[in-house]
Subunit: 378 residues, 4 copies
């Protein structure tokens, strides 16, 4: 394995969820080393956070401009190679652009920019720079999403004629139904949150999932939003009719008021020969349907999967990848115990569990070898 | 957040899956720093691996005895605090014991020891040491397993009268059905793999899950193994009748020849008032059943969950925890691209995806505001 | 139980599936007696079919006009009371109208008419007649569909703000993709099959399901069809944006080219307080979702269900209603055996099964009472 | 289709569920005509019930002996051919025996007899008689159960090495946990209910399902019951270890105290090449699993199914067979309306639904043809 890549981070300090997600992701395959950052606009908090997470503080900068200035002084073999942009949405564009202009690789959170015009400018900057630019449409990392893409490319569905994608959440319900909240929350203020809430935040994921998996481009669309209340100016629900061509059509459905839905991203792709169905909340199950054969359930980690899919699987089949988190929870419990912090009984398995386990194993052997007799445990 | 805990690692070098799992888990909550290790019995490989994963090599030791000797020379505030034991099974006992005897905290892989006698000796050493000892029964880290435990403790099921736990895998099929393989593979050699294959390796997880979630202790058991072939000496399948008392009974079913099963750990717990059902392959869904009410599906991250459960949830409801891995796969693609390694098209979302996304969002707004008209994408 | 109702049947002879469905349905609750019929336009086949299914032939008429003429001569207490119209679509309107005009009750297959104008004329005739008219939107008979309706009426969802209904099938794929077939099949000929294929045949079921369960009326709609080929004039796929009011919206999706989908009728109804999800292919499972509580699964036959739902449940909870069919298959096997027809081994359980079963039961008791010992079966 | 078979019925009068089930099943394929019966030991109720369900009363007999005596006087071509025995369990044996001795075909409810000795006597009587004898292990009529049997016979699983069957219900919970009830209810009185409750009533179904689908015979078993209370003498839960041979083993699990389980019959069959999983509560889904291929979902009505399976499918794929019941519920609503009985709004679709439906269809066409414009409904 080659030396780790020097990673810079902009934003994502403190309790930021997106910060945790990017840090953990950068660790998982042992490829990156966080080398420098501006975690926080407040320099003291910035340094404090770096200390907490054991990032050396010598390359924690007071602001983004200093970050660029100082890093550019370093010789190329020491300089940060790639920078993750996790700042508020309106900063994605200027930061990404300056990074590209200075020859950095960029990993950029979504939305890439706040307007299409900015996006095109960034695209031009990227073409000039010739560096790597990645946008974190996270779900394209799921092994079964990648499997869909590869199988479609290989012709498993034949000509595609119908696509149905959905992203339904319900989290905005308590906000939208409360007049005081919906008038004041920044997420429903077009000045702060941009031109679209539901489509801009989640509909675009469904859109990307269609183009990523099928390789088709949507040519035109017709859209109907729902604002739910007259005094609300941001879409919180909408349906988009889409056309890939005159005879290849589909629908994208998005909602933030789909009561009880959690993170309901799903896609169905229908072709002449077969179809795929996949849901983000059960990401390890990919259904391949046909009019004449039994439906097949593809799962990660099997040899029948494509290289692109297998590359994204770290554990044997049947281990949901969330098992990392499960193990992490045990490490968390141990950390609390070591530090003498309060923790709940049950946060990690103890010596007692170990003794009981050995007792169980020996008892089963004794029972079987004794002719299937009852054996008492100690 | 306090300073990171100094973590030592024994074993888990090279391609070891268990090594990846423990390293990632230790990173996820920013609590641990890998400070020293014996990754590999070969010192050169040991150092090489440390360099690959950017662990400083100054405390990479040539063997376990040196590890102990050198660490003990360090002042307590620099010394490794906790050590993860990931070596082959027969080494768990001597290593864990020596670590405890020298005052280290221990995170030990399963099985804790190879015999009950060893387990008892270790238990005594642990009592003397007074340090933390954790056995990695990983699934007890799942938020919904913890939720079961807390709700049962709070009386949600009433008196429990029946328990049914299962751990079915099929991976040993290609080995067991091939005479040459089954005669030679170390896993089916009692001298190398211990007294039990199926019950020792996976049945014990089902056993632990019962005791962890219910707080009940199994008092006696009756077991029947299946060896499948006369020339095989290790159980590859078995059923265990269990009794918690004269009128509280159950069954543990284990198999490594359950064709097509991947990692089928599941438990059903029936009480006077209600019952729970949980399956490891869909770890975010916990079913609470009753004779008179609709079945309820509990999911992680909701306010209705217990503190123990919520503590193990890092993301909002509906995000399967495996999303970390999905994001990690994108980081992996970027790493390959930066290093100029070969990678598949589709390993990370690109600038093109970003421009298309902005185009989509603006088109939806234009269509809706234009009175639900068709809008072409660029 | 009162005397059976005299039922007449128009159409549905020979191998007609719809004929089987109506005959079986009329038998299930012991309410109807088939008293007269025109099963078939060919009188000889008509009589022959009546004999086959043991309907007395004295009131099997040569055509519909004779049916009306002769029945009207009978005294009211002998006359057919209700007539099921199972003829080809274009005959529904004239037959239903004449039946109503003559004072019969009517059970009419779908579509009720071929145009809205006819529908209005029929409505007027029905108002004059004052008899019962039922349209067989079959799925409104499912216990859990009825449960949705009653709970919504009782306010379980609060104000509804979003509805998403789908009816996806794939059966037309082999026809539509074959130029010869799609040019000649009557179902894609507007002259024979009416103005719409997908929406007329199945979209209308999704439409009806929305209005039946929610009590809301769709005020306006916007629709996009897909014909798939330039030379095809009938919609085989389409999406309909619907508005119940300015702020209550939804979508109806229909397809006959959704590859691999069988009979995928489904509905999600989102309200301020909670939501429902139901799918026709798993008709016994009704999901009630909320943003703050665990999802609940309602099932038929429980005391927690409404009267309207319970009325449609004939068996205890957990018995899928299809168990009637399962038992019917055993009766079918016995019938073949009695008649000396060829039948497959396994079409009905035999004496051998009975003896084995008693052996099993006695052996289990002997094993348990003997102290959990092995008992051989005979 | 040949003339209907003359069917006699013993028991099953009044509100008897088993009576409904057998009557409906006998109607479904138009093969049987109920010709004579002793529905009820009380002659007046017997006649009354026959009138209610429109069975001619001339062959409704006062008791079973008269039934035999009178039918035997009739010429063979008029005599009842087959008789369904639906009486209380202890009468199955004497009635079935006398029927066989007199040359009748018999359809007998489960349990066939109350002891193995009786079963053997009956078996002998059957061999002498040479007529048809069918035991209604109802679930063997499910299309996907039949499909399992045929595929196993054809070698789809290879050599079977492990079987796991379960029948879990929870209905006895409210009885068993109430001391007064459990001491007095006939079902827990060995004198009235026989030697076994859980195994005798439902465990035997799981047993039969194993032998029916696999063609294997269980050679020996070891069983552990749970009585739950010291003062209860009948098993309400139990686990049975089974051996088909020294290296083919399995387990049967039965319970009537599995809280919240409804009718949880399920089976998993593991072979060298593949495995099957099927559950009675989702009877249309049969899972075929393998260690190396994607899991396949077989469903009824497809051409890929065996003849034995297809023979038991009356409707196109995707129509759960329970659709008969759904249609029957609509017929029930109409019957109530015709008779002027009270009924709930929503028991059958009305003229209004028909008009709305035509309005919907025409509006979709107008919207699409108008260029995807909004169209108001009337």
């Amino acid at each position: 394995m080659p030396k780790k890549i020097r990673l810079g981070i902009l934003g994502g300090g403190g309790d930021s969820l997106i910060g945790v997600l990017h840090r953990v992701a950068s660790h998982i395959n042992d490829n990156y080393q966080i080398t420098g950052a501006v975690f926080n606009p407040d320099f003291k908090e910035n340094i404090g956070f770096a200390e907490e997470i054991d990032v050396p503080t010598n390359r924690i900068y007071k602001d983004f401009d200093t970050f660029i200035e100082e890093e550019m002084k370093l010789p190329k073999e020491e300089r940060i190679q790639v920078c993750s942009v996790l700042t508020p949405n309106f900063l994605h564009f200027p930061m990404a652009k300056k990074l590209l202009d200075n020859g950095f690789h960029v990993i950029c959170e979504k939305p890439m920019t706040t307007t299409l015009d900015e996006a095109k400018i960034l695209q031009e900057a990227h073409q000039k720079a010739g560096t790597i630019f990645a946008l974190t449409h996270t779900y394209t990392g799921y092994p079964m999403v990648r499997q869909m893409r590869e199988m479609i490319k290989a012709g498993a569905l034949g000509k595609i004629h119908k696509i149905d994608a959905r992203y339904y959440q319900g989290w905005i319900n308590p906000i939208i139904h409360d007049k005081a909240q919906r008038s004041t929350v920044w997420r429903l203020d077009p000045k702060k949150a941009g031109i679209s809430s539901c489509m801009g935040d989640i509909g675009v994921h469904a859109f990307n999932l269609i183009e990523y998996t099928t390789g088709l481009e949507i040519k035109s669309l017709l859209c109907d939003f729902n604002y739910l209340y007259e005094d609300n100016q941001m879409d919180v629900d909408g349906t988009v009719l889409i056309r890939m061509s005159d005879y290849v059509k589909g629908v994208i459905r998005g909602s933030q008021v789909a009561t009880g839905e959690e993170n309901g991203l799903a896609i169905s792709i229908y072709g002449e020969k077969a179809a795929f169905r996949w849901e983000q909340e059960r990401p390890n199950f990919l259904y391949k349907m046909s009019d004449t054969e039994p439906t097949q359930i593809y799962k990660p980690g099997h040899a029948y999967n494509s290289e692109l899919s297998l590359d994204g699987t770290k554990l044997p089949a049947g281990h949901p990848e969330g098992i990392f988190d499960s193990m992490a929870n045990i490490y968390l419990g141990v950390a609390k115990a070591i530090r003498g912090e309060a923790y709940n009984d049950g946060e990690y398995p103890t010596m007692h569990d170990g003794v009981r386990g050995m007792n169980f194993i020996e008892a089963t052997v004794a029972s079987h070898k004794g002719g299937n007799v009852w054996v008492d445990m100690e």
